[in-house]
């Protein structure tokens, strides 16, 4: 996260880390059920096998495992069948864990939006991750407040890419607070009335985040994928 701040342990209990040897943390992810995690499809490019991955929950400092940490192996990776790596469209995947997590105040799922619930332009939401900070990679989870940007306005920042309905833009024209390499798959969450947090985006792509080219970040639009997510989880829980 660029322009963010270090997060308090446990503040984002749905944030998880997709890890693989020998690199360790590769992508962010989001807990949406006791056995189910969302991340983006591009994290699995070149690492498609479930057995090479582990998912770490309840962690703040990647370098110092905490007592609240839980680690699970990956049972199954479900990539969106329309994922297009050339244009990074339909960039979403569902990860089934080998066993359920134990829900604690440090490990807790986020809410998914309903089909008709979308993030409104000019509202303020949060992104989190262990991605690049512009000058270094952090050990501690970072958080940043970003503003949702309309698709039309976002398109003006990306002449070379089409912003599709599967994408959601958030950030600032000046790029002051933005996600960066290593944040991919992590959450963009907005607080609803009643203090409940809902997942609207998954960090997907953007400009080279610490280059001269600024602009908002582009997130996978979770609302667009709700039907697909629910049906995949149902299918793999009750029918297969």
């Amino acid at each position: 996260i660029l322009g963010g701040r270090t997060s308090r342990p446990g503040r984002w209990p749905w944030q998880c880390s997709m890890q693989s040897d020998p690199s360790g943390h590769i992508c962010g992810c989001v807990l949406i059920g006791k056995k189910w995690v969302l991340t983006v499809a591009h994290c699995f490019e070149g690492r498609e096998k479930a057995s090479v991955w582990r998912v770490v929950f309840g962690i703040n400092n990647l370098d110092h495992p905490s007592d609240f940490m839980q680690t699970r192996q990956v049972n199954r990776i479900i990539l969106h069948p329309r994922y297009n790596r050339a244009v990074v469209d339909y960039d979403i995947s569902i990860v089934e864990l080998d066993t359920e997590i134990n829900e604690t105040s440090y490990v807790r799922p986020v809410c998914l939006p309903s089909r008709d619930q979308s993030a409104q332009p000019d509202t303020y939401c949060y992104i989190t991750g262990w991605g690049h900070m512009g000058n270094r990679m952090p050990f501690k989870l970072q958080e940043g407040e970003v503003r949702i940007i309309s698709r039309d306005k976002c398109q003006t920042h990306f002449d070379m890419k089409t912003i599709t309905s599967r994408m959601l833009c958030a950030g600032y024209e000046s790029g002051t607070v933005d996600s960066c390499m290593g944040d991919s798959g992590g959450p963009l969450v907005c607080e609803e009335t009643g203090g409940r947090w809902t997942l609207y985006g998954l960090t997907s792509w953007g400009s080279v985040c610490f280059s001269k080219i600024m602009g908002p970040g582009v997130y996978s639009n979770v609302t667009h994928f709700i039907d697909w997510i629910e049906k995949q989880i149902y299918l793999h829980t009750f029918l297969l």
Binding site: R8, G10, R11, W12, P13, P22, S23, I32, G33, H42, E45, G46, R82, R85, A86, V87, E103, S105, Y106, R108, P109, V110, C111, L112, Q155, D159, M160, T162, E192, G195, R196, W197, T198, W205, G206, S207, V208, S211, K212, I213, E230, K231, I233, Y234, L235, T237, F238, L239
Partner: protein
């Protein structure tokens, strides 16, 4: 390796791991960089001539934004071809080594386009030193020069009649971007070889019609896609499946849609358990019903918690009912609909009503306070 880890371009090479160096680890890979999908070659080798280790690095690089922007100025006919030869160098299938652009191509591109960049205060990419590339026809070296018919515009661009390249997203946007206005001609979907969503006039590819994924807001691209017989029901992907197989607990549609949404709750009060078996809605008879079956129903609907079960007496109910199979206790099944059968009497004349709880989600732990 000189670095602590193998470069990504070598990550699949056993040579890199075993011998600890990157020699001979180069390999050819298909071009995926959108900008360069219309080249006369389709395999590339990394790292490229700009120092990017992967196509992903190249796709988000400064240069991959710069060249397409520059190509719109029409500064050099073969600029995009040159840009692609350095962004995704051609891979020689025999040697697995990259093939460079010829020096002349590089020099022509730089001479004609560098000055345009200067106008807006930008510089020619410093990695591109034309002297690193061989001269055409030099001994024992091969290099790339454009053919006459090479595509001048990238796939992300529209070629104006005048030859200029403008962004494809600016075609048919109501404003002229070509100097001859040709980007605003023939703007109907049909004339672009696309299909038009009736409700919002958005054009979609023909391959997106009836593919099981709605692309038009009113789902028009997924309507009228199948003609099922009277005893069949249509799957989400437009296959036809016999109605008797609907919600039987086994997948019959190849996309499994015959087993989706089989268990729901009615919007009425009390909320009656409703099962969509045989493509028809049934209520469920309360005979032999147990709380763990209510829990299974709630789970199938994505809801958790301990459900509240009620038996709603309905002596004159005419709606079709399903009944628990007499053998249901001995069946090891994962979905409720597999346990239910029709055509049996409901002795209690009561229907099952359930109230499920929504799964707890989205709450953060309360901030701890400490005395100062």
């Amino acid at each position: 390796c000189t670095q602590t880890a193998c470069p990504v371009s070598c990550s699949n090479s056993s040579t890199c791991f075993i011998q600890g160096n990157t020699t001979n680890c180069s390999h050819c890979e298909p071009i995926s960089l959108e900008l360069c999908l219309n080249l006369p070659y389709n395999l590339t080798s990394y790292p490229n001539y700009l120092g990017h280790q992967t196509q992903k690095d190249a796709s988000i690089s400064w240069e991959s934004s710069l060249f397409p922007a520059l190509v719109q100025t029409n500064c050099y006919k073969y600029l995009m071809f040159f840009a692609c030869t350095v962004l995704v160098p051609k891979c020689d299938l025999d040697t697995h080594q990259r093939v460079p652009p010829c020096r002349t191509l590089c020099k022509n591109s730089k001479e004609r386009c560098e000055s345009v960049l200067g106008i807006v205060g930008l510089q020619w990419p410093e990695h591109i030193d034309c002297t690193q590339f061989p001269e055409e026809n030099a001994d024992n070296t091969s290099c790339l020069m454009p053919d006459q018919d090479v595509e001048e515009c990238s796939p992300s661009h529209f070629k104006c009649k005048s030859g200029r390249c403008v962004l494809a997203s600016r075609r048919c946007d109501g404003q002229s971007d070509c100097d001859d206005d040709s980007d605003e001609e023939k703007c109907s979907c049909q004339e672009q070889g696309l299909w038009e969503c009736p409700s919002n006039n958005v054009c979609i590819k023909h391959t997106m019609i009836c593919d099981g994924f709605p692309d038009c807001p009113d789902l028009a691209d997924e309507k009228n896609c199948s003609s099922c017989k009277y005893n069949e029901h249509v799957c989400n992907n437009h296959e036809c499946v016999n109605r008797s197989l609907w919600c039987d607990g086994k997948i019959d549609c190849s996309d499994s849609s015959d087993e989706w949404d089989c268990v729901t709750l009615s919007k009425t009060t009390p909320s009656l358990l409703t099962v969509h078996k045989f493509a028809t809605e049934f209520h469920v008879c309360a005979d032999e019903w147990q709380d763990d079956l209510s829990a299974l129903a709630c789970q199938q609907m994505g809801l958790r918690g301990i459900p509240i079960t009620q038996m709603v007496h309905e002596p004159n109910g005419r709606k079709k009912w399903l009944h628990l199979d007499s053998n249901w206790r001995h069946q090891n099944v994962s979905a409720l609909q597999m346990l239910l059968v029709k055509g049996q009497p409901c002795h209690s004349r009561s229907k099952v009503s359930i109230v499920c709880e929504k799964e707890e989600c989205g709450f953060r732990p309360a901030a701890r306070m400490t005395k100062r």
